[in-house]
């Protein structure tokens, strides 16, 4: 019911443009609901073959204009960053009820969290390498443009129709901080939050995102949550038990961080004294055996406690792990949601090779059987 401009209550130019954008799209089925948005499928009115996801931001009375800062940040950063591994923001419009809607690239194959949880899907070290590499490329592009994502997790790594990983949800993103500028440490979903944030340090950098990628990669390997807990304090314990409690030797300056507790003072805290020394290389190889020795070294680079020693996104992409064997799986061959049945079928086909033993020695039948050997 878009009324054309009337003489008295006429639309201004912005309204007309907004209507023009909104009119381009036809809404379709429901895709999902997030913390501050509803997501629907949509397509171009003039070309129904071009499909998108429209994310309608819920009106939030808490905020000025009713729009959460998350939405504004998402709009700002997604529109600035154009890269194959970053979910593209196509358009923005507001609807009659003043709700803001984002038109996003459609990512219909779920996300990396759904993927490892789906036990019908089997995948290999080469698949993990391909997914992690795409994730690293996406975050490298963010960092190269001085954007911190600050909410990397499996469920924010969406999967496009062609298998490409798309880094999504820039609701917590921000520009790299100027020196001296404090940033809040209550960022990054707890399970993916690095120790420097948990210790309350407000001057972090791009390497914080790299820790999160390390955790996502570990989850892909284990097909389980890797560093889970209920509280921030527990999260510190879980990390320290896994990798050792950092000290001034392993992480210069760490003892000056607000919530740091030295190993010798942890005695009364349950579960935090278990492991005070850094893990040896052999532990990493054992822990991430599936990835091979070079893969274990690589994930060790991401899951390094000292953020200065941790791989930054550039260093991560320079690693030899990517060019070593096995070669990362091609996008079109990556296992996908719903691929369970098909995979079983392929396995049956592959079995083959059994030769008819009725002794008829039928020439043509044989030829087919032996040709594959």
């Amino acid at each position: 019911m878009t009324s054309s401009a009337t003489a008295d209550g006429g639309q201004d130019l912005a309204e007309q443009m907004n209507d023009a954008v909104r009119e381009k799209f036809v809404m379709g089925g429901f895709l999902g609901e997030g913390t501050y948005a509803m997501v629907h499928k949509a397509h171009y009115r003039h070309d129904p073959s071009q499909v998108f996801a429209v994310k309608k931001i819920k009106l939030n009375a808490e905020y000025h204009n009713g729009i959460a800062p998350d939405a504004i940040r998402e709009m700002q950063f997604l529109s600035e960053l154009t890269h194959p591994n970053i979910l593209k923001l196509i358009d923005v419009f507001s609807s009659k009820d003043q709700n803001l809607s984002f038109v996003l690239e459609l990512a219909p194959r779920g996300d990396l969290e759904k993927l490892w949880k789906n036990k019908d899907i089997t995948y290999t070290a080469a698949d993990i390498k391909a997914w992690t590499n795409m994730l690293c490329q996406g975050i490298w592009f963010c960092h190269e443009n001085f954007v911190l994502h600050r909410d990397i997790k499996g469920s924010n790594a969406l999967i496009a129709a062609d298998g490409t990983i798309k880094l999504a949800d820039f609701g917590l993103a921000r520009r790299f901080a100027d020196p001296g500028t404090r940033m809040t440490t209550q960022m990054i979903t707890r399970m993916y939050r690095p120790l420097e944030l948990l210790y309350g340090c407000s001057h972090y950098g791009g390497t914080a995102d790299m820790w999160s990628i390390g955790v996502v990669m570990a989850e892909l390997v284990k097909r389980d949550w890797y560093l889970g807990s209920e509280t921030d304090i527990q999260q510190v314990s879980v990390i320290c038990e896994k990798f050792g409690t950092p000290t001034e030797e392993t992480w210069p300056g760490v003892s000056a961080l607000p919530y740091y507790v030295a190993p010798e003072k942890q005695n009364n805290m349950v579960g935090t004294t278990a492991n005070r020394i850094a893990r040896p290389r052999s532990w990493w190889r054992q822990e991430f055996m599936l990835l091979g020795d070079d893969g274990a070294e690589f994930i060790k680079g991401l899951l390094t406690l000292d953020p200065q020693k941790r791989f930054n996104s550039r260093r991560a992409l320079e690693d030899k792990y990517w060019t070593n064997m096995p070669r990362p799986t091609k996008k079109e061959n990556l296992p996908k949601e719903g691929g369970g049945e098909k995979a079983v079928g392929d396995d049956l086909k592959r079995k083959g090779g059994e030769t008819p033993t009725n002794g008829r020695a039928d020439k043509v039948a044989r030829k087919l059987d032996f040709g594959a050997m």
């Binding site: 961080l257 953020p307 992409l317």
Partner: protein, 300 residues
């Protein structure tokens, strides 16, 4: 098929010769009369039951016959019959022939050509299975193998004008080459080495290199030194490098927009990347210097 009786005779002759020795452990049925041969229908390679127990009882393992590499499961082994022994030999011969005569339908101009080719391959296989012209046939096979290898090593034909004439020349000599192997296949396309897959590019083809400036390891500015040694910035992983390149990108970012300037800059040495960047960055950041002691706590 008139070949059938001859084939059976040849097979039974061979059985009498070596059918009683286990190819894996070399023990003989003459010395161990309780020995039994087993086969697995994945490859029909024959071995004694002791070997089967030893190698496969604890779980799947690869066939010990060289060049086979099939993974065999213990459960699938069964007693070898007379027929199996013939099949084993036939399987091996066919595998050898197939390794060399490995053309596919798409290698031929027509389906008919392909079928004719298959006929000849079949002929070779039968000759070897039935022990007909073995020496000549094996020689022919070997020459074809060398010919194929040479064709591959020569690589794909050049695409330049000069290459095109060369290709014509090699086309005419192709018939001759092929004839020397003892084979002529009608409609067989020239074999072209597959394009070697480029090494994986972990950057996906992207790179962002600054055009107008070079980032330095250090800047001689007061606040820079202060931040560089500030324990909170150091321990937190805040990167001054990132900050400086951001400031430089912001300062120089607009330059590329003016096409005319860019054209001018191309011949102007003063736009060289390493000139004056130290001052430029100091200038670019000087405004921020003044604010540096102000508490700039950020809502985000």
């Amino acid at each position: 098929m008139s070949k059938q009786p001859a084939r059976a005779a040849a097979a039974s002759k061979r059985l009498a010769e070596d059918g009683d020795i286990c190819p894996v452990c070399k023990s003989s049925r003459y010395l161990n009369s309780t020995m039994q041969f087993k086969i697995n229908p994945a490859c029909y390679h024959r071995m004694c039951d002791t070997c089967v127990e030893r190698i496969f009882k604890r779980g799947n393992s690869t066939c010990p016959i060289a060049g086979c590499a099939k993974t065999l499961s213990w459960a699938k082994f069964r007693r070898a019959t007379f027929e199996d022994l013939k099949i084993e030999r036939e399987v091996d011969i066919r595998k050898t022939v197939m390794d060399v005569m490995n053309k596919k339908e798409e290698d031929f101009e027509t389906l008919r050509d392909y079928n004719d080719y298959l006929e000849q391959v079949e002929e070779i296989a039968w000759n070897l299975i039935l022990n007909i012209d073995v020496e000549a046939t094996t020689g022919k096979l070997e020459r074809w193998k060398q010919h194929q290898k040479a064709e591959l090593d020569a690589g794909p034909p050049l695409a330049s004008g000069k290459g095109a004439t060369q290709r014509k020349a090699s086309q005419s000599s192709k018939k001759k080459d092929e004839a020397e192997t003892g084979f002529t296949f009608h409609g067989l396309k020239k074999r072209v080495a597959p394009v070697k897959e480029a090494p994986y590019d972990p950057w996906g083809g992207w790179s962002i290199a600054p055009q107008y400036y070079v980032l330095q390891d250090n800047y001689d500015v007061d606040w820079y030194k202060r931040i560089k040694t500030d324990v909170h910035h150091v321990a937190g992983g805040h990167s001054l490098q990132d900050y400086c390149s951001q400031a430089l990108r912001d300062a120089f970012g607009g330059l590329g927009v003016f096409i005319e300037d860019e054209i001018l800059a191309r011949d102007t040495p003063s736009m060289d990347a390493d000139v004056g960047t130290e001052h430029a960055v100091a200038a670019a950041m000087s405004g921020k210097d003044a604010n540096m002691n102000v508490n700039m706590d950020d809502v985000f």
